[in-house]
């Protein structure tokens, strides 16, 4: 009895610091590292979250841009930070696509970082140019079987390439990638009749669509887009499985106490699920996607596995 009591006491004592840490959290300034330069969607949404958390916790939450190596430098910095919840990473889905294509990342995306919560979800849309006369996804697939079709990417291993390869995979076609520095370059080539297909974010293609320079044929997501309500989803068009959402989420160094992680997760959900946040995100072509710690962890694991499999199958790699 005495022994059992001792064990229980010991267990309590061992757990206490963690609980106490979670209760006090945050007792000092929290830093959110954004591994991209200021002014992109990642930065804008990350800063919105930081502001919201600062108000919610009544503690300063500062954003630190640590760009470079396609998010690897900032991510590695957080991976090596003290696992106490005071240094967090706000990163996009690039986190999982990079992990699938780059063998020499300066950190281990699975072992060194712990998923905390989902910030927001953005939708991608498949658009086509004038060279392939299609008005729906089935036509495009038919055309791609009959002739050579080119799709634009924003570089080897980018989310745009993965979205294109995923469509190749699901539809059993072989569109060939053409690499561009950025999505706008690809859209210009599409407007000029040199490029056939591009899978980009809804926000990015909206102006090309409005000026009839690109034709939206399917939303690569589970739900339709509010900005393009008439465009069917890939599943509605008969190609379920070609969904390639982009997302932004928060990670902490592994070893951060679970109680602290849960508290941050609740904070993120509270900030991002508010009506103002929904309105703010809509401007950037995104929407809230509330997830618990385990749901987000599962999402990240699933994405990683999906992209890794696709990368191996279609030989997408950065060396």
């Amino acid at each position: 009895m005495k022994r059992i009591l001792g064990v229980v006491l010991f267990a309590c004592a061992a757990l206490l610091p963690g609980l106490a840490a979670a209760q006090d959290f945050p007792s000092k300034r929290v830093t959110i590292v954004i591994p991209f330069t200021p002014a992109g969607s990642n930065d804008t949404i990350g800063r919105y979250l930081a502001d919201g958390l600062a108000k919610l916790w009544n503690t300063p939450v500062v954003v630190e841009n640590r760009p470079g190596a396609g998010s690897a430098i900032g991510s590695a910095h957080v991976a090596q930070s003290k696992p106490d919840g005071y240094t967090l990473l706000f990163v996009s889905g690039t986190f999982t696509t990079n992990a699938a294509t780059q063998a020499n990342l300066p950190f281990d995306p699975v072992k060194d970082l712990k998923p905390v919560g989902m910030g927001a979800l953005g939708q991608m849309v498949i658009v086509t140019g004038s060279r392939v006369p299609t008005s729906n996804l089935a036509d495009l697939v038919k055309a791609a079987k009959a002739q050579k079709v080119f799709y634009g990417t924003t570089g080897v291993g980018s989310s745009t390439q993965f979205a294109g390869e995923l469509l190749n995979d699901v539809a059993g076609i072989k569109m060939e990638p053409v690499h561009y520095k950025g999505g706008t370059d690809a859209l210009v080539d599409m407007a000029g009749g040199r490029l056939d297909v591009y899978v980009g974010t809804v926000t990015q293609v909206l102006s090309s669509v409005a000026s009839n320079k690109a034709k939206p044929i399917a939303i690569a997501s589970k739900t339709r887009s509010k900005a393009l309500p008439d465009v069917p989803t890939v599943a509605e068009a008969g190609f379920a499985g070609a969904e390639a959402d982009i997302w932004w989420g928060v990670f902490a160094p592994s070893g951060t106490p679970d109680a602290v992680v849960t508290k941050i997760n609740q904070g993120i959900n509270k900030v991002m699920a508010s009506p103002e946040a929904t309105e703010f995100l809509a401007k950037h072509g995104a929407m809230p996607a509330e997830m618990s710690v385990s749901e987000f962890g599962g999402h990240v694991t699933k994405e990683l596995a999906k992209w890794r499999e696709l990368a191996v199958k279609h030989n997408i790699k950065a060396e």
Binding site: T37, P38, A39, G40, T44, N65, R66, P67, G68, A69, G70, A72, I73, A76, T101, N104, P106, K148, F150, G155, V156, G157, E176, V178, H179, Y180, K181, T184, D185, V188, D189, A191, G192, R194, L195, T203, L206, S207, S208, A210, S211, K283, I316, K317, A318, E319
Partner: protein, 501 residues
């Protein structure tokens, strides 16, 4: 479209007290930043971007645009007086502007830059207003093949930038091209010359190279021999150009303006190329070409006009297509998106106040700048009259701030320091860094567009001669190449070289 009506809308917006104030604030800040070596518009706009969030979008864009061309103006002042270019465009101004300053004609050089820029700015603004919509479609005609051929012209033209040995110029271009390949290759994902450090995965930033080679290199060189380090802030000579000056600068300004207006429209390349192209053109066609590099007024008038005309027309692809022509334009685009304005052809109809207001405010900005730069030039010069002991550490500090603000990377600072040493070595070896910079800018574009053209044509090399625009550029490149190797031209060149010795 009713041009007059549109301009009226624009004046209505731009002449509001608030917008005038922001235009003035932007121009003032831009000139200040431009005069201080090392800090370019890119660094300034990115640093100030967060502060414009609270402003009305039109006012924010007007101010950012003011910083943008204000810095270009201010940069030429420093280029002429201190021999320190702030940006790619002023690299060329240094060549003749500084020589003019050495001949006691710094004032005339500054006035020429201002007059040329103002004229080009007016033309650029008018072109922008009149042809925004039709010109936007020109950009669509440029695909991989067209860009590739344009880059070939640019690289061959780069040889004429150097006043020294042709061999050294080619060597410097090649070094520039190699430096441009550092980083992850766009087409294969292979990392080239990264030496295992993730800091190099995204390549070397232009600012790192420019600051290192020019600013740091200059400071190091000046330590060696302080007496030879000349800045012409005491005796600038008269400000107003005389009749002879006007006669000589006018054709150069006209040529520079035309080149800049045309190249500015091209997304991706125009702005940085325009002053180089203009200088090459002056070297080919000017009656005073033999004096270029030794303080010819054409060498200041042409490139400065080209650069400013391109700065105006670079807004055409940015505003109408949402395609930024330069990193600075990309930032402007980012600012628009941040203010919830979707760039694209519909801006003209959905936000006419903003679109035309911005265009008219550019013209007003040019007017403000000529006021800031001509009568107030003494004030800016005072900034440069600070003793070297204070000025050099300050220059280094501002350079470091500028470099750091691009990527927030200390690695970049070390890299820039390394390029500073390289810049000093190049100076000792009499290798001019300008062709290197051009190779660095054009090389990656050349490769990227070549490979894209090859993929899209399924490996058919004839694509480069089948596309009419591409064919024209290639023919032009061939003409340039032949001209450079012709015995008569060679003799002329050698004659110039002998004079320089």
């Amino acid at each position: 479209m009713d041009l007059f009506g549109n301009l009226l809308i624009g004046f209505g917006t731009a002449l509001s007290l608030q917008n005038l104030l922001y235009a003035f604030a932007g121009c003032l800040l831009g000139t200040l930043i431009g005069v201080l070596p090392g800090l370019g518009p890119l660094a300034t706009i990115s640093m100030l971007l967060p502060f414009t969030f609270g402003l009305d979008p039109t006012a924010a864009l007007i101010m950012l645009a003011g910083i943008y061309y204000g810095a270009a103006y201010g940069g030429s002042t420093t280029a002429i007086l201190v021999n320190l270019p702030g940006e790619t465009s002023s690299v060329v101004t240094v060549l003749d502007g500084y020589q003019m300053a050495r001949q006691g004609r710094a004032g005339v050089a500054i006035a020429t830059a201002a007059i040329g820029s103002f004229f080009a700015g007016c033309v650029g603004t008018l072109v922008l207003a009149a042809f925004a919509a039709p010109l936007a479609s020109v950009a669509f005609r440029f695909g991989g093949a067209e860009y590739f051929s344009l880059m070939v012209v640019g690289l061959i033209g780069a040889v004429s930038l150097a006043s020294g040995s042709v061999l050294k110029a080619i060597g410097m271009i090649l070094i520039g091209v190699i430096l441009g390949t550092v980083g992850t290759d766009l087409n294969s994902g292979v990392q080239r010359f990264t030496f295992g450090t993730p800091n190099l995965w995204e390549g070397i930033d232009f600012i790192v190279i420019a600051v290192g080679l020019f600013a740091f290199g200059e400071v190091i060189a000046s330590l060696e021999n302080d007496a030879s380090r000349e800045t012409f802030t005491e005796n600038m000579g008269r400000l107003m150009p005389n009749a002879e000056d006007f006669k000589r600068m006018t054709p150069a300004i006209l040529r520079g303006t035309s080149i800049g207006t045309l190249l500015g429209i091209l997304p991706g390349a125009g702005l940085s190329l325009s002053s180089f192209f203009s200088y090459s053109l002056e070297k080919k066609v000017s009656r005073f070409r033999s004096q270029l590099g030794k303080g010819a007024i054409e060498g200041v008038a042409g490139p400065e006009s080209a650069n400013n005309a391109a700065a105006q027309t670079a807004f055409i692809p940015t505003l109408t297509l949402g395609i930024p022509g330069s990193p600075t334009m990309a930032l402007m685009l980012g600012a628009m998106v941040m203010h919830n304005i979707q760039p694209g052809p519909q801006v003209m109809t959905s936000n006419p106040d903003l679109f035309w207001g911005l265009i008219v405010s550019m013209w007003i900005g040019n007017l403000i700048l000529i006021i800031l730069n001509l009568p107030l030039v003494g004030l800016w010069v005072r900034l440069l009259r600070i003793p070297y002991g204070v000025l050099y550490p300050a220059i280094l500090l501002f350079c470091c701030l500028g470099v750091y603000s691009v990527q927030f990377s200390t690695f970049d600072l070390f890299l820039a320091a390394g390029f500073g040493l390289a810049g000093y070595a190049f100076r000792k070896l009499e290798c001019e860094p300008a062709p290197l910079v051009l190779g660095f800018v054009l090389g990656p574009l050349l490769e990227e567009n070549f490979r894209r053209a090859m993929v899209l044509s399924q490996g058919d090399f004839t694509i480069f001669v089948r596309e009419p625009i591409s064919l024209c550029f290639l023919l032009l490149a061939a003409v340039l190449l032949v001209a450079a190797t012709l015995p008569k031209m060679r003799r002329e060149r050698d004659a110039i070289l002998r004079e320089e010795m």
